[in-house]
């Protein structure tokens, strides 16, 4: 039941399928190539991803600002109800297609240098391909159930990739943690799906969009689905898995835990934004605000370069969720787009620092933690290229003018400023949080770049450090380039470029006031950050992310363990005891019935048999084979008979 509109759309569908299925093919190929030829895996998978990118670009240009592509296939029938699944590619999906395949391709290219020495390179590239496929599935699916399925697959591949170095105990623990915490959110997602089904009997996004009036169940349904977003996008209170997930390989962190998977939550929010009622949106913005604030504070005090970036990602995702909460999903997607590129760039640049230092350490046998910024410093001379990339992407993260981050942050701030209204209410705190977060963002970005690249070299002064190979520098260059403002629009102070206008259908509001405030604010933050560059904040509370792990340990894990030991005791003592007593009763009863059986029933049968035997042996004794005795008895009986006859 494929609805084909025209020849044009079938070509688009073909290219869409190619873009979608090539990563899956890459997954199968990576696993089927033998260990001996594992060196070809990076080439093949990168080529497949490049083809996928080209197809996505074609799909993007066919769909962007045109009619969405809708393909529906019949999946199954229950009774009279037909369940269809399909593809819905509108502007939102098209832009996500570009982001996912693009970043995935760059990460594949980068990984072929970064992971070259890894022994399980086939598994690595296979899971990268599988992840890309699942992520594309979320992006193009037209159906909440299908989105949920791919959502789970994404979680699974994230688990596999975080735990790629499975011999590291921290890595496998982090993988389990990420998976389990995502499960908590996904349980909410599933309940939300049930609520939707119970009320609408449909998962189709187009059909759901057509119900325009706000219904009461939508609040609970959208909040339940938001639980899934909280888990996947590392929002408060389920944000503590993301920093731990940095145990995975750095390109994985760039692809999954910065650019795409964690952004899937924001994408889903934008995709089903029509379902959110005003109260649900209030919850969304508050959760986003708390997350943004906590993530920013966390990033300020971390020492591990990847953890700084992880907390920063959490904080930026919080900002995006806030933007959705204030009813501006297009601003969120704009920020998602820009963030995907500059944060992937930062992660890959951090990865190239780690890679270069590891290579150097390998030669000199001088081992220290290369991810700890306290050991680093003054690397601008030895790694000038990485330094430039860090400056470009970091400026975008900090939201400096002439960089993409400035524009998207501007869009979010404008949306929040419009939303708060003129009267003073709690909503003003949200604007304040957004401003404070953007301030802190500048501080921690400056601190990170300063401590890694400026000042004097610390532990690294004796190391022969060299820039990473070309395959790793090309993706960095592309991502650094993508951090400049003209990627999203021509005017560096007006965010409504080609991207924003494609996502936002109606008239948009743009204040010329906000960019000026924002720019001044950022410059102020830069000055403050420069003054405070040598100061480091010693806060155990922030270093451990408000002790969220310990709180969960005390509130959830410990009581659960106590409950299990208590139920174990109950089980042992009472349930087992009850079973044992019934068992003993049964055994005694069995003994009694055994006795009854043996003595009474068998006895009566044996008695009858014995009687028969006795009678038989008596009668048998007459017939003992002695002829004369027979004669005697015959004559004896005749005599008796005669006596009886005479008498």
């Amino acid at each position: 039941m494929v609805e084909v509109q025209s020849h044009q759309s079938t070509t688009v569908e073909l290219f869409l399928l190619v873009a979608l299925l090539l990563p899956l093919l890459s997954f199968f190929i990576s696993f089927s190539i033998s260990e001996k030829y594992s060196w070809v895996v990076p080439f093949i998978t990168t080529l497949l991803l490049l083809t996928s990118v080209v197809s996505s670009v074609y799909v993007f240009f066919s769909v962007w600002k045109h009619e969405p592509v809708v393909v529906q296939l019949h999946w199954f029938t229950i009774g009279n109800f037909k369940f269809n699944v399909g593809i819905l590619v509108n502007n939102l999906s098209a832009i996500m297609l570009i982001v996912v395949t693009g970043i995935s391709f760059l990460v594949h290219l980068y990984s072929s240098g970064y992971m070259a020495a890894d022994t399980s390179i086939r598994r690595y590239f296979a899971m990268l391909g599988f992840f890309t496929f699942s992520m594309l599935g979320i992006v193009v699916a037209d159906n909440l159930l299908l989105i949920f399925i791919f959502w789970e697959l994404v979680g699974f591949s994230s688990y596999m990739l975080i735990g790629h170095w499975k011999e590291k105990i921290e890595a496998s623990a982090a993988a389990s943690k990420a998976f389990l915490i995502n499960r908590i959110g996904d349980a909410g997602f599933l309940i939300g799906l049930m609520i939707v089904w119970a009320n609408q009997s449909s998962f189709n996004l187009i059909e759901l969009t057509n119900t325009t009036e706000i219904l009461s169940w939508q609040t609970s349904a959208s909040l339940c689905i938001f639980c899934g977003v909280i888990g996947k996008s590392a929002q408060f209170p389920l944000l503590n898995w993301l920093p731990d997930a940095m145990e995975g390989p750095t390109p994985v962190s760039a692809l999954i835990h910065a650019a795409t998977m964690v952004a899937a939550g924001v994408f889903l929010l934008a995709r089903i934004h029509f379902m959110f009622t005003p109260p649900a949106l209030d919850v969304v913005i508050i959760v986003g605000g708390i997350t943004a604030f906590m993530g920013a504070l966390g990033a300020l005090v971390q020492h591990d370069i990847k953890k700084i970036l992880a907390y920063s990602t959490t904080s930026q995702l919080g900002l995006m969720v806030m933007a959705v909460g204030v009813g501006a999903p297009e601003a969120a997607i704009l920020h998602l787009f820009t963030h995907a590129f500059f944060k992937a760039g930062l992660f890959l640049a951090a990865g190239s620092i780690i890679h270069s230092l590891h290579q150097a350490q390998h030669k000199t046998h001088d081992h220290f933690d290369v991810q700890d910024v306290r050991n680093l410093g003054g690397l601008r001379k030895k790694l000038p290229f990485t330094f430039i990339i860090f400056i470009l992407c970091g400026s975008a993260l900090a939201g400096l003018p002439f960089f993409t981050g400035f524009l998207s942050k501007d869009a979010i701030l404008t949306a929040i400023q419009q939303w708060i209204g003129s009267e003073f209410s709690w909503k003003w705190f949200m604007l304040a949080i957004a401003f404070i977060v953007s301030f802190i963002t500048v501080l921690y970005t400056l601190r990170m770049i300063w401590s890694v690249f400026m000042g004097e070299e610390k532990r690294t002064s004796t190391l022969p450090i060299a820039e990473p190979p070309l395959v790793m520098r090309i993706p960095l260059a592309i991502l650094g380039f993508a951090s400049l403002w003209f990627v999203v629009c021509s005017n560096p102070f007006d965010y409504s470029g080609w991207l924003y206008s494609g996502l936002h259908a109606g008239k948009y509001f743009h204040s010329s006031f906000m960019p000026i405030v924002s720019a001044v604010w950022v410059v102020l933050a830069l000055v403050v950050g420069y003054i405070l560059r040598k100061k480091s904040i010693q806060s155990s509370l922030l270093l451990h992310n408000f002790y969220l792990d310990r709180i969960y340990n005390a509130l959830m894990v410990k009581p659960t363990l106590h409950l299990t030991s208590f139920t174990n005791y109950l089980d042992k003592k009472w349930i087992d005891g009850f079973i044992h007593s019934t068992v003993y009763t049964q055994v005694i009863l069995a003994h009694f019935t055994n006795w009854f059986d043996r003595v009474i029933i068998d006895g009566s049968v044996d008695g009858v048999a014995g009687l028969a035997k006795g009678v038989g042996s008596v009668t048998r004794s007459f017939q003992n084979g002695k002829i004369q005795l027979y004669l005697f008895w015959a004559i004896f009986s005749i005599i008796i008979f005669l006596i009886w006859l005479i008498i």
Binding site: G625, K626, I627, Q628, L631, F632, I635
Partner: protein
């Protein structure tokens, strides 16, 4: 002329002796002898009862017939005993218990 009762007494005595020989003797030949005695007792009865009807000699002829049959029977019986003795090296019926379970 002797009264009939005397013959009958003698005949009953002979019959009883024959019967006791059959029951008590172990050897098959002695059993055959007992059978002969009993046959003779019945012959005596046949001859004695003939005096109730003296015009015919039915009883005498009938007893002659019995004697002939007895001869045949004795011949068959003895030959069987001889054959059994040849097979089993015994002529005592109690010891011929091969068919007993």
């Amino acid at each position: 002329m002797f009264p009939l009762q005397h013959f009958l007494y003698l005949s009953a005595l002979l019959f009883s002796i024959g019967l006791i020989i059959i029951i008590t003797k172990r050897n098959a030949i002695m059993i055959l002898l007992g059978i002969e005695l009993m046959l003779n007792a019945s012959n005596l009865n046949l001859v004695a009862f003939n005096q109730l009807n003296p015009s015919t000699l039915d009883g005498q002829f009938f007893s002659l017939f019995v004697i002939i049959v007895a001869v045949c029977e004795a011949a068959v019986g003895l030959s069987l005993v001889l054959r059994v003795y040849h097979e089993h090296k015994t002529s005592i019926p109690d010891e011929l218990n091969n068919l007993k379970d």
